[in-house]
């Protein structure tokens, strides 16, 4: 269990983390999502007492990090893969960390085996690839067999096999009843691993919700239909009380307010040929972008003349407002 209360970090006049309050519970994978520069890494560093909060506190199993007796046995963290002295071998890197927390030496070989680095245990880590470095960082996190694990962007730089491995590892750890907290700027990645979701933008909490709820609330679901007679279908839909369907780039119709079954029945009644009838969900990536659009630190491209300006700070958690401003901006850019 990790509890954040009013956690705030200010650098000069810039608020990197703004009054974050949330808990990370055991037994599930909690995704920590936000665009680059949202304050995810700063938050995680404060959780480990590496950075001192300007205000607020973090409690790990009810204690401050500094009060933990042999912290690696409580919480293991992969912050960035480069928190390693490249001149030291993988084995010695883990050994010095293990010794400081009185973790038995045999555990070093165990975690090296777990992450698949046994063969290069006696090699200096400076020569490791990004993926191997990431595995070494994960080995360090697992060293104390902690109940809480924290991974900052663990899939960065990994090959598909490595990504698959990490996803399964995180799910396994959560299934063992551990608290797993993982950050990412990729919604698609979170959708595959996380059960619970915490979204931040510009240091503010935007959402604290279960993944299922997030999907239900944020993803636009619709039915995609392709037919050789779109006009007749439009008429049929209108008569059935559906609002006018949108037309996709390839000419397919997108119906939001009728289920696929009902549309199929309508088509059968009117003797319409359908080439496709498929329920769709707008990507979560889109939902995430909509949520964080106004809080993205570095916008690509220059503002388009005539575009509706993106409103600045909006009270945290105002999901609809974020989405609204994104829609406005999108339309502005397209005009």
């Amino acid at each position: 269990m990790i509890e954040l209360e009013g956690l705030t970090k200010r650098y000069g006049d810039k608020l990197a983390v703004d009054n974050l309050t949330f808990s990370v519970r055991p037994g599930v994978v909690t995704g920590f999502l936000g665009p680059n520069g949202a304050g995810k890494s700063t938050t995680m560093r404060m959780m480990l007492d590496l950075d001192r909060p300007t205000a607020g506190s973090v409690r790990i199993d009810g204690k401050h990090y500094r009060q933990l007796d042999e912290p690696l046995k409580h919480i293991g963290a992969l912050l960035d893969a480069k928190a390693v002295h490249g001149g030291r071998t993988a084995h010695n890197h883990l050994l010095c960390l293990a010794q400081s927390n009185r973790i038995p030496r045999a555990r070093v070989d165990e975690v090296l085996e777990t992450v698949g680095l046994t063969a290069v245990a006696k090699k200096r880590s400076g020569g490791f690839s990004l993926g191997m470095g990431q595995r070494l960082g994960i080995a360090a996190a697992l060293l104390g067999d902690p109940r809480i694990l924290m991974f900052d962007e663990p899939v960065n730089g990994l090959d598909p096999e490595g990504i698959h491995w990490i996803r399964n590892l995180m799910k396994d750890l959560a299934a063992q009843g551990r608290t797993v907290f993982v950050s990412s700027h990729l919604m698609s990645e979170m959708a595959l691993t996380a059960d619970h979701l915490i979204v931040i933008g510009r240091g503010k909490l935007l959402a604290d919700t279960s993944m299922a709820d997030f999907i239900a609330v944020n993803s636009r679901s619709f039915v995609r239909i392709r037919t050789p007679e779109p006009e007749r279908l439009r008429d049929a839909l209108a008569k059935a009380g559906a609002s006018a369907p949108a037309t996709a780039a390839d000419g397919a119709l997108e119906v939001e307010d009728l289920p696929a079954e009902r549309i199929g029945e309508l088509a059968a009644e009117h003797g319409l040929v359908l080439h496709e009838l498929s329920p769709q969900r707008a990507s979560l990536e889109e939902a995430f972008m909509r949520m964080t659009a106004a809080s993205v630190e570095y916008q690509a491209g220059a503002p388009v003349p005539g575009a509706v300006p993106v409103p600045g700070a909006v009270p945290g958690g105002a999901v609809q407002q974020w989405g609204g401003s994104w829609e406005q901006r999108k339309q502005g850019k397209e005009s």
């Binding site: 912290p71 960035d80 010695n92 010095c96 960390l97 010794q99 400081s100 927390n101």
Partner: protein, 255 residues
């Protein structure tokens, strides 16, 4: 609270598992002994040409430590890398996550490196002394002469303190490059140049190396307002100040 012995053990593993430890310490030993021996041999060869005043003031013990001004640079590099390596590699974040009591971490690191510097310093000073005396022939002195044992023992302490000073400065600056960029020119050039300039000497004699080096003289020379142990005490004060500064920086700053 982290166990102190566990953290010491961890720091010992850290220091022995990087190559720079061996090469800096071996270099310190080899350079100090070789240069000291070489200069001792040179003194013997040119003894006849030396002015009588110099002959009268001749300090056989100090002559055998002539390599110290070069050898100390290797120990400074050692001290800088022990602390600075944590920052330049990002290891500091792993280290502090494992040992969040920052004072304990720094103390253990300094203690382990100081112990290594002390052993290296003592082995180096005694070896340099005996090698130097061997080259000095008739003009050699012995440990039994007045002030000689203190000078040899003191030379080992000097090497230890200079390493500690380098660690303190690096803990303050948090960068090995910056620390080396300041410490190397200072101890190799600035300090000794200022100590040779009449007016600047008044200040320079209180610099850590100038004050500390007094203990390596068996025959008192110059007009320093402090004795051998007083000088070493001044150097020790510098070390305490540097380490205290390093501790405060480590404690206050984000890692």
């Amino acid at each position: 609270m982290a166990s102190a012995t566990a953290v010491l053990q961890s720091e010992w593993t850290k220091v022995r598992s990087v190559r720079s430890t061996v090469w800096t310490l071996v270099t310190a030993f080899a350079v100090t002994v070789a240069v000291g021996g070489g200069i001792s041999a040179l003194v013997t060869a040119t003894w006849g040409d030396a002015p009588p005043a110099d002959r009268a003031m001749f300090d056989a013990a100090q002559t055998s430590f002539s390599g110290m001004f070069l050898g100390q640079l290797a120990l400074i590099v050692f001290g800088v890398l022990v602390i600075g390596g944590e920052y330049s590699t990002g290891m500091i974040r792993s280290s502090l996550a494992a040992v969040p009591q920052r004072g304990v971490l720094l103390a253990a690191k300094v203690a382990v490196a100081t112990a290594l510097a002390l052993v290296t310093g003592m082995v180096t000073s005694f070896t340099a002394f005996f090698v130097g005396q061997a080259f000095l022939g008739q003009r050699a002195t012995t440990l039994a002469e007045e002030g000689v044992l203190r000078a040899v023992f003191g030379a080992g302490l000097y090497m230890t303190l200079i390493t500690m000073f380098a660690m303190g400065v690096t803990a303050m600056l948090r960068s090995p490059m910056l620390s080396l960029g300041i410490l190397m020119p200072f101890f190799f050039l600035v300090s000794s140049i200022l100590a040779a300039v009449p007016k600047a000497k008044e200040v320079a004699q209180y610099f850590p190396d100038q004050a500390g080096a007094r203990i390596m003289q068996a025959v008192p020379m110059g007009d320093a307002p402090y004795g051998p142990w007083g000088g070493l005490g001044i150097m020790a004060l510098w070390v305490v100040a540097a380490l205290a500064g390093g501790y405060l920086v480590l404690k206050k700053r984000d890692a």
